[in-house]
């Protein structure tokens, strides 16, 4: 199944880069049932990594309690306008995706 693009905003001010990311993902808990009473299998992002020019600035692990279409915001020192900021995720089905923006 095709993954959908993320929306990443990254902007630098006074030497600190603020990153806000919205990730398109179902984040199915594995605790819900469908109309026929069958359990909908868990499907969720397990790992997420943000890099600035290839250097990791945040890595995280998610459980099923992170909301559908996850949102993540954080700040790191450094970064300059035009630098690359990438966010990658991997889910429990082995799918993954990376999107990249230039820091504004």
């Amino acid at each position: 199944m095709a993954t959908k693009p993320m929306r990443i905003r990254a902007s630098v001010k006074d030497g600190v880069t603020e990153v806000k990311a919205l990730i398109a993902h179902e984040m199915e808990t594995g605790q819900r049932k469908d109309a026929n009473g069958a359990v909908i299998p868990a499907w969720f992002i397990t790992e997420i990594t943000a890099t600035h020019n290839g250097k990791v600035v945040l890595s995280g692990e998610f459980g099923t309690a992170v909301s559908k279409n996850p949102y993540l915001a954080f700040r790191f020192k450094g970064g300059a306008a035009g630098d690359k900021l990438a966010v990658s995720w991997k889910d429990n089905k082995g799918e993954s995706r990376t999107d990249e923006v230039a820091i504004a």
């Binding site: 095709a2 993954t3 693009p5 993320m6 929306r7 990443i8 600190v16 808990t29 605790q31 397990t46 790992e47 990594t49 890099t51 290839g54 250097k55 990791v56 600035v57 945040l58 890595s59 995280g60 692990e61 998610f62 459980g63 099923t64 309690a65 992170v66 909301s67 559908k68 996850p70 949102y71 993540l72 915001a73 954080f74 700040r75 790191f76 020192k77 450094g78 990438a86 990658s88 991997k90 082995g94 799918e95 993954s96 995706r97 990376t98 999107d99 990249e100 923006v101 230039a102 504004a104």
Partner: protein, 155 residues
């Protein structure tokens, strides 16, 4: 929307892509690819979760804070975050006491990243939210109750 800002690098299946990214130097091997902490995420109670995280006896700290509203209109999406003023904070985790599995998310912070991460979580019901923080080899914790209400038909 600016398409140039959203340049898709790769999409595909798991390890192969991450491997390729690592090879391309986008992700440094050995930093980002730590194994997902199954034991911690599948633990049910707070105590078991803390144990699985190696944080059986965290110290209460006023320098750690759970950020978020006092009340959530819907438990499916509750904005929460963790901030820590403790120098050398390297790990921050969000735990929801009354969820089926307490651990919602954990973050590893390299030097230079501020100890302030915001995300959104699901809450099954009104519950205490715990922010667990690691600095050096010590764990610290703070808590905040968030009430979950039920709304009407969606505005």
């Amino acid at each position: 929307m600016n398409n140039q800002r959203r340049n898709v690098l790769k999409t595909g299946t798991g390890a192969a892509v991450l491997g390729a990214l690592a090879a391309a130097g986008i992700i440094k091997p050995g930093i980002a690819l730590a194994e997902w902490n199954k034991a911690a995420f599948e633990a049910k109670s707070m105590a078991d979760t803390l144990k699985a995280l190696g944080a059986a006896q965290p110290t209460d700290s006023k320098e750690v804070q759970v950020t978020g509203p006092d009340i959530a209109e819907n438990g499916a999406v509750v904005p929460v975050g963790v901030t820590s003023a403790i120098p050398g904070t390297t790990l921050m985790a969000i735990l929801i006491e009354k969820n089926p599995n307490a651990l919602a998310a954990s973050f590893t912070l390299p030097a230079g990243t501020e100890a302030n991460v915001q995300t959104r979580v699901k809450m099954g019901q009104t519950s205490n939210i715990y922010a667990l923080v690691k600095a050096g080899d010590k764990f610290f914790v703070a808590t905040k109750e968030i009430k979950v209400t039920l709304g009407g038909c969606g505005g």
